[in-house]
């Protein structure tokens, strides 16, 4: 909401208060100051100067070199590009050091090799309303050398954000009342003309719940014309455009007192006024010429013929508005309840200064006085004569009730920082009064004060948190399961970073197209993705069912920035339904990893090594040490070489490579490997050991075996056979070489050779050679029989 400081000053003496003080005052009243816009000329260094000479600039066709008298004795040379002046004119001259709106400062300068010691200014350049093109020509009698600011009125526009609980601040009088409370100074007297009222004869309220009070008065013989200067200036000072005297007065009173008003052209009203709900589907053309189809719960003002004149409290109708030909008007001032106005405003997408205030709540006791002030101002600015009395239908609703203040509770919440008497004084200053029973009477403009806590809030707000002591105490609390999960996740994050991966954070809403890159732990069926109803754009329409789409998009972005090595991870929630939409809104936490390109930076003595599946496998193993990570191939639609990632006997995640066609489509030059791990399971695997293992007391013994197998035989089968042997003396084994020869020169192309090393040890003795041999031979035999291995 905009407040003009000059306008505010008509209600409150602000002399001697700096803008900074007013800013602080409003800020600590709970009103956010979003902008402070000085109007008029601010710098003292912009002075009246007379142009004594203007000659063509030697080096620029469009510039002139002027000599001006700025009242300094000597003339001042200034280069100027304007064309609209003649020698002898007086214009604003910004001297070096002058600060112009927009924050730039005038310096002496050289323009195309000609010195320029200042700037001759247009109106808009010094903070005045933009006029004709070119320099602002000042009156001929303006005194040379005098600061230009003295020739124009200045003002300050305050752009304020009023919280929704304080509709009483949505006017200059209301804001002044609040500041007066905080400053402990009286408001300036403000005379509201007395108004006679009479029971309505030509107003019928059919919807008393939505409109408990409606007033109207006819003013005949008005002349609709341009508003007087003072009125236009007031409206312009808060950024409103003057329209005509009738409309301007209603707008003025709205911003003066906070009560919305509306003027109908009396000639357009057939009979009396009816406040009723709209007929379903009734059409309505608003003042802004927008067309609306109304619903049964919209409130309208119609005449007795049934014609709809206005959408109550929101906007007048195009047909019934005041025009230049209007001679008689009917002025409406009413109280509409907030819910209905809010609903209609939202549904029709029509909003106005009027609906803004009704939605938040106006003062029911202010309806008549606002009408009276409006009548007075219309008569002053448009002539005519008003009916003797304002017609009144319904009555002002009572929207406040007395509230008691509990001294003990106040003391507890405030930490004893305010005496009861001081607290009560604050309430009194805010316009509350203490009744004989001790409860506080609430003024009708403070309907937000309904409960004890509302009174406490007012006291705390005015007292200020600066005057409340700080207490540093707290109860002890046990760690939660979430604490454990968080700690495990941070361990994983730090490990991944130490393993050379960057953590990403992607938007959890993705596009339908991106869902194709999803690699959730369980494949998605139709109905398993969750789509928001009204996405902002199709790029952000689906809740991510997997980390991979976001990581792929991040990788693509980096590739476009010429990044070669992509080592990314992200941890967080994924969202899906399960069973084709049967089980809804499952949220789980996963870890996504993406590797592509060189595994480490290429240097002066190291060749590029492009990431392959074993890099990612190694990474997962390093992340969860001791978990015996295995990859178990399992096809995934839309991916290549997909595997379940297994730890022991449980599946903890998925691994895959993007399809080469997808990689090409996304402009990747290197294979892209991704993995997604179930954090719930990984966290459990991080639990650590329960008992430390004794270190071996006796030496062990190793045996190597080179075996030749069909190239299609997965290594896991060999591992499986070895594991199944369950030899207690075999403490470990590893594959240390894989050889194949596509040329068939050394080994048939459909064969491969694997070299394994077996480690044998007993915990209670040094093994004899023959013991080792016996066990080793049993294992080799099993391999021959069960895996078809041929030993070389």
């Amino acid at each position: 909401m905009n407040i003009s400081l000059n306008w505010l000053s008509t209600h409150l003496d602000l002399a001697g208060k700096s803008i900074r003080e007013i800013d602080d005052l409003l800020t600590f009243a709970g009103v956010e100051v979003e902008g402070i816009v000085p109007k008029g000329v601010s710098s003292e260094k912009i002075v009246v100067a007379q142009i004594k000479e203007a000659v063509q600039h030697p080096n620029a066709d469009r510039l002139k070199v002027t000599q001006v008298d700025a009242g300094e004795g000597a003339l001042r040379q200034i280069v100027c590009g304007a064309q609209n002046y003649k020698v002898g004119d007086k214009v604003p001259c910004a001297l070096p050091g002058a600060e112009l709106p927009g924050g730039f400062t005038i310096n002496e300068t050289v323009m195309r090799k000609v010195e320029s010691k200042g700037m001759l200014c247009a109106a808009s350049e010094i903070g005045l309303p933009a006029g004709e093109d070119g320099l602002l020509i000042l009156p001929a009698d303006a005194e040379i050398g005098r600061p230009v600011k003295q020739l124009f009125d200045s003002d300050v526009l305050l752009e304020l954000e009023v919280t929704p609980n304080r509709p009483d601040l949505l006017s200059h009088r209301g804001m002044a009342r609040e500041l007066a409370t905080l400053l402990k100074t009286p408001l300036k007297a403000f005379e509201i003309p007395s108004a006679k009222t009479t029971a309505a004869t030509s107003i019928q309220i059919d919807a008393p719940d939505a409109c408990p009070l409606y007033s109207a008065i006819r003013i005949s013989g008005v002349t609709v014309k341009e508003s007087p200067a003072w009125l236009k200036e007031r409206l312009e000072s808060i950024g409103l455009r003057p329209i005509n005297n009738i409309v301007d007065v209603t707008n003025f009173v709205l911003h003066e007192l906070g009560q919305p008003l509306h003027a109908f052209d009396a000639a357009k009203i057939g009979g009396g006024l009816v406040v009723r709900h709209a007929r379903d589907g009734e059409s309505f053309t608003a003042l802004d010429e927008s067309e609306h189809s109304l619903a049964g719960d919209d409130l309208v003002i119609s005449d007795t013929t049934g014609a709809t004149l206005a959408l109550a409290g929101v906007m007048g109708g195009l047909a019934s508005g005041v025009t230049v030909t209007t001679t008689d008007i009917v002025l409406e001032s009413a109280y509409f309840t907030s819910q209905g106005i809010r609903r209609t405003s939202r549904r029709t997408a029509l909003s106005s200064d009027s609906s803004y205030r009704f939605e938040r709540g106006v003062d029911p006791e202010g309806v008549i006085s606002a009408a009276a002030l409006t009548v007075k101002l219309i008569l002053e600015t448009a002539g005519g004569s008003a009916d003797a009395a304002i017609q009144l239908a319904g009555e002002a609703p009572v929207i406040t009730k007395p509230v008691a203040l509990d001294a003990a509770k106040l003391d507890q919440l405030m930490g004893g920082s305010i005496a009861l008497a001081d607290a009560e004084q604050i309430l009194t200053r805010l316009g509350l009064s203490k009744r004989s029973d001790g409860a506080w009477e609430i003024p009708s403009f403070r309907a937000d004060l309904q409960r004890h806590i509302d009174l406490v809030e007012e006291i705390a707000r005015v007292h200020g948190l600066a005057n409340v002591p700080s207490r540093m105490l707290g109860t002890f609390v046990p760690a939660s399961a979430i604490d454990g999960a968080y700690d495990a996740d941070m361990i994983l994050r730090r490990r991944l970073a130490a393993l050379g991966l960057y953590e990403c954070q992607t938007i959890k809403l993705i596009s339908d197209a991106q869902v194709a890159d999803a690699l959730p732990l369980r494949p998605l069926q139709d109905g398993d993705t969750i789509r928001v109803k009204l996405p902002l754009s199709e790029d952000h329409a689906v809740m991510r069912p997997s980390m991979i789409p976001g990581l792929v998009a991040s990788a693509v972005r980096n590739v476009r920035q010429q990044a070669k090595s992509l080592r990314l991870f992200e941890m967080g929630r994924v969202f899906r339904n399960a069973g084709g939409g049967k089980s809804k809104d499952q949220e789980s936490e996963t870890l996504g990893i993406l590797l592509s390109g060189p595994t480490r930076p290429v240097g002066w003595d190291q060749a590029e090594q492009i990431a392959d599946p074993f890099d990612l496998k190694g990474l997962v193993a390093a992340l969860i040490p001791g978990a015996s990570i295995r990859f178990s191939p399992k096809d995934r639609e839309g991916f290549a070489i997909a595997c379940d990632i297994r730890a022991g006997d449980q599946s903890i995640g998925v691994f895959a490579r993007l399809l080469p066609s997808r990689e090409r489509e996304l402009d990747f030059n290197t294979p892209v490997f991704v993995a997604e791990l179930d954090l719930g399971k990984v966290r459990k695997l991080l639990k650590g050991i329960e008992h430390v293992a004794e270190l071996p007391q006796f030496p062990g013994s190793s045996r190597d075996a080179a075996m030749e197998v069909a190239s299609t035989l997965p290594n896991s089968e060999i591992e499986g056979v070895i594991t199944k042997c369950a030899e207690t003396l075999l403490v470990d084994f590893e594959c240390f070489d894989v050889f194949s020869d596509p040329s068939s020169a050394k080994l048939a192309a459909d064969r491969k050779s694997l070299a394994y090393r077996f480690h044998y040890r007993a915990s209670d003795r040094t093994l004899k050679a023959e013991e080792v041999e016996t066990v080793h031979k049993r294992i080799l035999k099993a391999l021959t029989e069960k895996a078809g291995v041929h030993f070389r």
Partner: protein, 337 residues
């Protein structure tokens, strides 16, 4: 014999001294001390030495051997030293490092972890709740009127099921109070969603940190002391903190919190970092209704809650001008942290 030995010794010392590498030195050793070396042969001649001279010749021989051996050893270590020096001389340590792959944590993780570490020191435990929420936990229980603008489909993401994406982490307050009794002291980091177009200062998905302390005598001094301490830990011990009255449906009184910060090259200014307030009694009433008990009796229970935007804290901390940098994951950005 007596005359031979000094000659052998002199000759050996010359050869040793002349040796320029290990091999020449070894040759010299063999030539003197080897099986057929000159000194070995000379020693073999001892048997022909007259008995009365044996003592003197023996001494001569031993002295020569000792001197030659010492020379050999000295030369040996001199040569080793030269070789070592040569080996080290070839290393240009000013060549670039053999780089390892370096990774790092996202700035949001860093700031969140820092905030959580401080609050845990202060005795808060972590809590959590779903991001796909219902109106009860996101709005109703938080005293938000049925026609409040935040419930608008223009501002909040809804699903066909009627559920919505939580607009704040405050829903975790409700979830926690439904399942636990006071005293409660929790913090809840998490995502929240608003239907804002993504631009330099807005994300439709952003990150918050929520806090709640509910007990029997929680007061404004507790709120003030807790948040002042937290912000001074986060932004520095001398950071000025101010509380501006504000309005939130679920706290009363409510405040917004500013800290006074100096951005390099600028005047110090107040920057909004958080919202807070005393839990509105209407929230406790809604919780009791949902729990079907009086665990949060509004006459006997008080509490405060606070919430802050982690994206915003990260932007303030590192001078990040465009919030989109936080979700684009450009490695050139990420590697700076």
């Amino acid at each position: 014999m007596k005359d031979q030995i000094p000659a052998i010794e002199a000759d050996a010392l010359v050869r040793i001294s002349a040796a320029t590498d290990e091999r020449a030195l070894e040759d010299a050793r063999v030539a003197v001390l080897g099986k057929k070396g000159s000194l070995t042969l000379a020693a073999a001649g001892m048997k022909d030495v007259p008995k009365e001279e044996k003592g003197a010749v023996g001494q001569l021989l031993n002295a020569a051997r000792a001197s030659i051996t010492a020379a050999l050893e000295a030369k040996q270590s001199a040569l080793q030293e030269i070789a070592d020096r040569a080996a080290l001389a070839g290393i240009d340590t000013t060549l670039p490092a053999r780089e390892l792959a370096i990774g790092g944590l996202h700035p949001l993780t860093l700031i969140r972890d820092e905030a959580i570490a401080i609050l845990r020191r202060m005795g808060f435990a972590l809590a959590d709740g779903p991001e796909i929420e219902d109106e009860f936990h996101c709005f109703d229980a938080l005293n938000t009127p049925a026609d409040h603008p935040a419930r608008n489909e223009k501002d909040t993401f809804y699903f066909d099921s009627g559920k919505l994406l939580r607009t704040h982490t405050s829903s975790v307050q409700v979830r926690t109070m439904e399942s636990a009794k006071p005293p409660l002291r929790i913090i809840a980091p998490g995502s929240a969603y608003r239907r804002d177009e993504i631009d330099a200062t807005h994300l439709s998905v952003f990150n918050q940190l929520e806090g709640l302390y509910v007990a029997s005598d929680v007061s404004l001094p507790d709120l003030k002391g807790t948040l002042e301490y937290f912000l001074q830990e986060l932004f520095g011990p001398n950071t000025e903190v101010r509380f501006r009255p504000h309005f939130f449906p679920f706290t009363e009184p409510s405040f917004e919190i500013d800290v006074k910060l100096t951005v390099k090259g600028q005047e110090p200014r107040w920057i909004e970092v958080a919202g807070c307030g005393m839990v509105d009694p209407a929230v406790f009433e809604a919780i009791n209704k949902s729990r079907k008990d009086q665990a949060f009796d509004p006459e006997a229970t008080t509490g405060f809650a606070f919430g802050m935007g982690l994206d915003r804290l990260a932007m303030i901390r590192w001078g990040i001008r465009d919030i989109r940098l936080l979700i684009e994951n450009d490695v050139r950005f990420l590697k700076q942290f």
